[in-house]
């Protein structure tokens, strides 16, 4: 170790050089805004310029107020609905793909991921036009089957369900891929042993697949929590938050408080509150990804 101090020093300098651009970029675009959200929430902002110190005024205006309770409940319904539905559908699909031959599985994975590579704006738009508008295929189907056209975006409950369906449609393929990756690392012999011991398909699924996938499942759940909690595009494009406030979620509220109401201080306070949840999820994510252990 001590034999080659110059090489060590050179390596260290090279590492610093190689890491510097990435470090600077992440600092500017991710780390500083995270810290500044809290700072700005305590300042008096006139449009986007600082006019003085505001104390907790912004927080009282947008966070500590009665309407925050229904806002959080709606957000929780959207997030929980999306995460649960996505996982419930992704698990059986992933298990099925895992049993296909390699080439078929790969082809299916490409088809499965399609809605995820469409942008959120485009995916929301196309889904809305196809399934949720009165001139779309969904409405036509309802007309054929029950002889009545549907307009799900006009009722609060069905609008929220629509939102969950759109978000699930977009993220499902992604969840499937992560679970397929997780299944690959599970030893096939365990299933064989399960089969030999006479476990039914359903038993093998619940008693072997699910427990063995615990780490992958947790990561999928965390990522889905973060992405749906921070999803402002789906409500923006599909419902615009309506009817009334029925589908106004936290992310959309932050975006509109800042860029529609132009209340940047209030938006920063709401953003800080949301940031606390995000940071908690980020920590859970890094812990689950098991990168704490030294490689080599």
């Amino acid at each position: 170790m001590a034999a080659a101090p110059t090489i060590r020093g050179g390596e260290r300098r090279l590492a610093a050089l190689l890491l510097a651009p990435t470090a600077i970029l992440l600092l500017i675009v991710l780390v500083l805004p995270t810290l500044f959200a809290f700072v700005y929430s305590l300042l008096d902002l006139r449009l986007a310029t600082v006019a003085g110190f505001a104390g907790l005024e912004n927080w009282q205006k947008t966070v500590f107020r009665p309407s925050t309770v229904p806002l959080l409940i709606r957000t929780a319904v959207f997030v929980a609905g999306t995460v649960l539905l996505t996982v419930a559908l992704a698990l059986p699909i992933a298990t099925w793909l895992d049993r296909l031959t390699r080439n078929r599985s790969l082809a299916m994975q490409v088809v499965v991921i399609v809605p995820w590579v469409l942008s959120t704006v485009v995916a929301s738009l196309l889904f809305r036009w196809t399934w949720l508008e009165s001139l779309g295929i969904g409405s036509w189907l309802a007309d054929v089957l029950f002889s009545s056209r549907i307009t799900p975006l006009l009722e609060p409950a069905s609008a929220m369900v629509s939102l969950i369906l759109v978000a699930t449609w977009r993220t499902l393929g992604f969840a499937v891929l992560l679970l397929v990756a997780g299944l690959k690392s599970v030893d096939a012999e365990i299933y064989e042993a399960g089969r030999v011991d006479g476990a039914s398909t359903l038993q093998r699924f619940w008693l072997l697949t699910v427990p063995l996938l615990r780490t992958s499942l947790t990561i999928v759940v965390i990522v889905l929590l973060v992405s749906s909690l921070n999803n402002a595009e789906v409500p923006l494009v599909v419902t615009g938050g309506g009817p009334g406030d029925a589908t106004m979620t936290l992310a959309l509220q932050i975006y509109q408080t800042a860029f529609t109401d132009l209340d940047f201080g209030g938006a920063a306070a709401l953003a800080s509150a949301a940031m606390v949840i995000n940071i908690f999820l980020v920590l859970a994510y890094t812990r689950m990804s098991r990168i704490g252990r030294p490689d080599q």
């Binding site: 260290r12 090279l14 190689l18 890491l19 651009p21 990435t22 470090a23 992440l26 500017i28 675009v29 991710l30 805004p33 995270t34 500044f36 959200a37 700005y40 902002l45 986007a48 310029t49 600082v50 699909i93 099925w96 299916m108 994975q109 490409v110 991921i113 399609v114 809605p115 590579v117 942008s119 704006v121 485009v122 738009l125 196309l126 036009w129 001139l135 993220t171 992604f174 891929l177 992560l178 690959k184 990561i219 990522v223 889905l224 973060v226 402002a232 992310a251 932050i254 975006y255 800042a258 860029f259 920063a268 953003a271 995000n278 999820l281 994510y285 890094t286 990168i291 704490g292 490689d295």
Partner: protein, 281 residues
């Protein structure tokens, strides 16, 4: 024997039904959007369901291509290509340092980069403070504003994918390179990178798709029409035209085509890259 064959047949049938359902659910909205984008206005508003057999028109495509969407399409192409090229280079450098070089705080640096993967998904939250301080510094609404943001938002994931790829290259090859007189950078460029091509494809695609798809930052951090990205141009058809589904679907389909071409050409790399990185919603 017969029963077994019946069972195998049932299995295959179930698989085919599964494939059909997934394909229809995932592709139908794209096809329906495509049909709508080719219909004249009266046919769009007709309650009759027609996926084909309508009198096709290119009027909506003309509207959007020669309108603000056409400009935004080219702008986003520029943003995407710039962000992708720089991200792939920086991600390779960072991943190499994290995998092959020994230095203090290496674990911590990697930990921070991994933490940035989910953090970068919080655009709705990050965009508020970013807007305020970029405006204060006078760096919003510049030609470099969005490419820099897109680069940084996608860099953590690209780095993670590249780290996985570089890990897969045996260190014996580094030693061989060293014996041949290559420097550390020489080893990275001449030995490691050529062996990481699938990882590079995957990282590059993820960055390009991320940059191409971003909406929130793009909608507020630039105001000049010439700097507006493609997703914002699509969204602007919702508000500007009310229910003008013709131009809206034409714009959406045009925005989706490059991505779908990329997916069906290089999808395998994307899929394997996503799995190795294991990752982002």
């Amino acid at each position: 024997m017969n029963r077994q064959r019946q069972k195998a047949f049932a299995g295959r049938l179930a698989a085919m039904v599964g494939v059909a359902i997934i394909a229809v659910v995932n592709l139908l909205p794209v096809l329906w959007g495509m049909a709508t984008s080719l219909k004249p206005v009266q046919e769009i508003l007709s309650p009759q369901l027609k996926l084909w057999g309508f009198s096709a028109t290119t009027q909506h495509y003309e509207t959007v291509i020669f309108g603000s969407f056409g400009t935004a399409f080219m702008t986003s192409l520029g943003y995407g290509i710039a962000a992708t090229c720089v991200a792939v280079i920086l991600a390779s450098m960072t991943a190499y340092a994290l995998d092959r070089l020994r230095f203090r705080l290496r674990q911590l640096v990697f930990y921070i980069i991994v933490a940035c993967v989910p953090l970068s998904m919080g655009a709705a939250i990050l965009v508020v403070p970013t807007y305020i301080y970029f405006t204060a510094l006078g760096v919003s609404n510049q030609w470099y504003t969005l490419p820099v943001i897109y680069l940084a938002l996608n860099l953590p994931l690209a780095t993670w994918v590249m780290k996985g790829a570089i890990e897969g290259v045996p260190t014996e090859l580094d030693q061989a390179g060293k014996i041949d007189g290559l420097s550390n950078m020489g080893i990275l460029v001449r030995v490691i990178i050529p062996l990481c091509r699938p990882g590079l494809f995957a990282a590059g695609m993820l960055v390009f798709i991320g940059a191409w798809s971003e909406f929130l930052a793009g909608s507020v951090l630039v105001q000049s029409p010439s700097l507006r990205p493609v997703q914002v141009a699509i969204y602007s058809y919702i508000t500007a035209f009310g229910r003008a589904w013709g131009p809206l679907t034409a714009a959406a389909i045009l925005a989706v085509v490059p991505i779908l071409v990329l997916l069906f050409a290089l999808g395998r790399h994307l899929v394997s890259g996503l799995m190795s990185g294991s990752v982002k919603g």
